[in-house]
């Protein structure tokens, strides 16, 4: 037991020094007045709930993040299944290709999407060559669609990797057993594969949904005049008017929402495990 504690301590130290302590500093800031009035105050939190603007943007951000998560599942899970169960060789190369985009900055990728999606851009040219596009404007850039595309591109690999990890662990003999017991492929998928790989989907969904809530780069660059999300409001607080205290309060409200939704998700997950 002692040995274990010793082994864990460097990681714990890093977490405490660089995540927990800063978090509490932020928490402290969120209870201080922006106007420089000394003492404890709830005004930052009150401000968030007193204006419809902030709640509306939060709701918009939650919907956006849920959509990104859903699309990532629909795209990422089949991809992971193909890599884990169908192809026999070249898995490493495929996984590497999925990871490679992580090596370039999020900002660069957002700007690249801008060039791809803009009117008269690469996508429009491509579609025109295929005779799928007939004049006018493409009209994708500076819409919510462009933001979703950008975010799915950033976050989908998380879903592929977490799903792959659970799918790969499923023993092929289990699938054969299912088949020999008379299950058709759909039944095998729904009653064997899906329950056994659910943990991967849930982990991936969490890894996507949470950072999506705080995203601001893609909405700002790709979203045009309607690109505002709660992340851009927080960013403006910190970098435009030095409203650190209000910015910290918004971040904590968001965090509280995340923790609650996580609690719900893990409860659902546990019940699923018990039933299965």
């Amino acid at each position: 037991m002692k040995k274990k504690a010793l082994l864990v301590s460097p990681a714990m130290f890093i977490l405490i020094a660089f995540a927990v302590v800063p978090l509490f500093i932020m928490l402290y800031f969120s209870f201080i007045s922006d106007g420089g009035v000394p003492g404890f105050t709830l005004e930052n939190y009150a401000r968030f709930f007193s204006k419809p603007l902030y709640l509306a943007l939060t709701w918009k951000t939650i919907k956006m993040s849920a959509l990104v998560t859903l699309i990532s599942i629909l795209v990422g899970y089949p991809m992971a299944y193909i890599i884990a169960k169908i192809i026999k060789s070249g898995r490493e190369i495929l996984l590497l290709l999925i990871i490679i985009p992580f090596w370039s900055s999020q900002l660069v990728r957002a700007y690249s999407w801008m060039n791809l999606l803009r009117d008269g851009g690469i996508l429009q040219d491509f579609l025109a060559k295929l005779h799928l596009f007939k004049g006018g404007e493409l009209g994708i850039l500076f819409t919510q669609t462009a933001v979703i595309i950008g975010l799915v591109h950033i976050f989908c690999p998380y879903m592929i990797i977490t799903s792959y990890m659970t799918l790969e662990k499923i023993d092929d003999s289990v699938l054969e057993a299912s088949k020999s017991l008379g299950a058709n492929p759909i039944t095998t998928f729904l009653r064997v594969i899906l329950p056994m790989s659910k943990a991967g989907i849930v982990t991936g969904a969490i890894l996507i949904f949470v950072p999506c809530l705080g995203s601001f780069v893609e909405p700002r660059i790709l979203g045009g005049v309607n690109g505002s999300v709660i992340g851009t409001v927080i960013q403006d607080q910190f970098f435009e008017i030095y409203g650190w205290n209000f910015g910290a309060a918004i971040a904590f409200i968001l965090l509280a929402m995340v923790l609650v939704s996580m609690g719900v998700m893990s409860a659902v997950n546990r019940r699923g495990e018990e039933n299965g």
Binding site: L57, G120, V210, F216, E240, I241, G243, L259
Partner: protein, 369 residues
């Protein structure tokens, strides 16, 4: 059981770090670094003047630094700031008595003067001060109680720029930003100051003390659907303009001039209703270690030699009238720095935290709708 708790804690921490990892983008850090290195190094007995400015913003040009160093037998060291707030923090936390010359803008000047962070200036010791446009000397932020604390250095404006290849009419009004004709091709700026002040100009309100914020909000909401997008960085504007995605919009005088120089069909105008103006100031820090040298440096910064050199290299508009007069009319028109324009500008003045907060929230509401 214990393990489960530990696992939960680890997952929780991971989530927290993810959330904040994406919410907090790194602002570019900056470190103090020597400007104009080389020839003057290794002479410890020379006085070292510490200057705080933006990186690559005129005063740290190696040639300019070297000239001052050799003329005054000293060494200049630059420290860089990432924001005006940071400069204020620097002055408050140990900068007084250590730094010599700094570049505060009107947003922090009144605070810095009030808190006694800056040295009063005897303008009679500045040989080039008489050549500075009176308009700048009269702006309220550089002085307090009849005493001068800061010297204007360079200026510019945020007006309207448009594509002369695609727009044939002569634009001279800010109302072009509300013109249905250009729907889908307008680029407004994503900045609460620019937004509020521009709408105030269009509505005929005082841009620095708008009387009716509600009218401004509605005016901005009315403008919103006409845009291609809100641009944030100068680089974004350049790209959209070059791709002809944006053909008209809010733009800076300096960038328009350099884009025109690069061959873009761009024209910059200060609308007849006026435009937003800005000025940068030099100030000497309270108890500066080398006060006389600091004053000499400020004098050098507004001298004909320095100002002429910088503007010819693409710098912002000079405050020195002699230099301005020596520039060709065409150049001044392109760059939006004629005296006629100067008189039509509303220079951004000091706004306290409450005003900034209100303006920012107004802008967030417009954007969120």
């Amino acid at each position: 059981m214990k393990r489960k708790i530990l696992n939960c804690a680890a997952v929780g921490l991971l989530l927290v770090s993810l959330l904040f990892g994406t919410a907090a983008c790194g602002s570019s850090g900056q470190q103090p670094s020597a400007g104009g290195n080389g020839s003057t190094q290794g002479s410890a007995d020379k006085p070292t003047l510490v200057v705080v400015n933006w990186k690559d913003y005129g005063s740290d040009n190696p040639e300019a630094v070297q000239k001052f160093e050799s003329e005054n037998n000293c060494k200049i060291v630059h420290e860089y700031m990432a924001s005006e707030e940071e400069l204020l923090t620097k002055l408050r936390t140990g900068g007084v008595g250590k730094l010599d010359v700094v570049l505060p803008n009107p947003q922090i000047l009144p605070t810095a003067i009030k808190e006694g962070l800056l040295e009063e200036l005897d303008t009679s010791k500045l040989s080039n001060y008489p050549n500075v446009y009176d308009k700048f000397k009269k702006l309220p932020e550089s002085s307090m109680g009849g005493k001068t604390y800061a010297v204007p250095w360079v200026w510019g404006s945020t007006g309207i720029a448009y594509n002369t290849k695609l727009i044939k009419e002569d634009i001279n009004s800010v109302n072009v930003l509300w013109d249905q004709k250009y729907k889908g091709f307008i680029g407004f700026r994503d900045d609460f100051n620019d937004a509020v002040m521009t709408a105030a100009i269009a509505l005929g309100q005082d841009p620095n003390n708008p009387s009716d914020l509600n009218a401004i909000k509605n005016k901005l909401k009315e403008q919103k659907p006409l845009n291609k997008t809100y641009w944030k960085t100068g680089d974004e504007w350049s790209k959209f303009f070059a791709n002809e995605q944006i053909t008209v919009g809010l733009m800076w005088s300096g960038q328009s001039a350099s884009m025109k120089k690069a061959g873009q069909p761009i024209k910059y105008v200060v609308p007849k209703e006026g435009a937003i103006g800005w000025v940068d100031y030099w100030a000497v820090v309270k108890n500066a270690p080398h006060k006389d040298l600091a004053v000499k440096f400020v004098d050098y910064m507004i001298s004909e030699g320095f100002q002429k050199d910088w503007v010819s290299k693409g710098g912002p508009a000079p405050v020195n009238k002699v230099v301005a007069d020596s520039l060709s009319e065409d150049f001044k028109k392109d760059a939006g720095i004629t005296e006629d324009i100067l008189n039509r500008l509303y220079f951004i003045s000091y706004h306290d935290e409450e005003v900034k907060k209100a303006w920012n929230e107004l802008w967030q509401e417009v954007k969120a709708e």
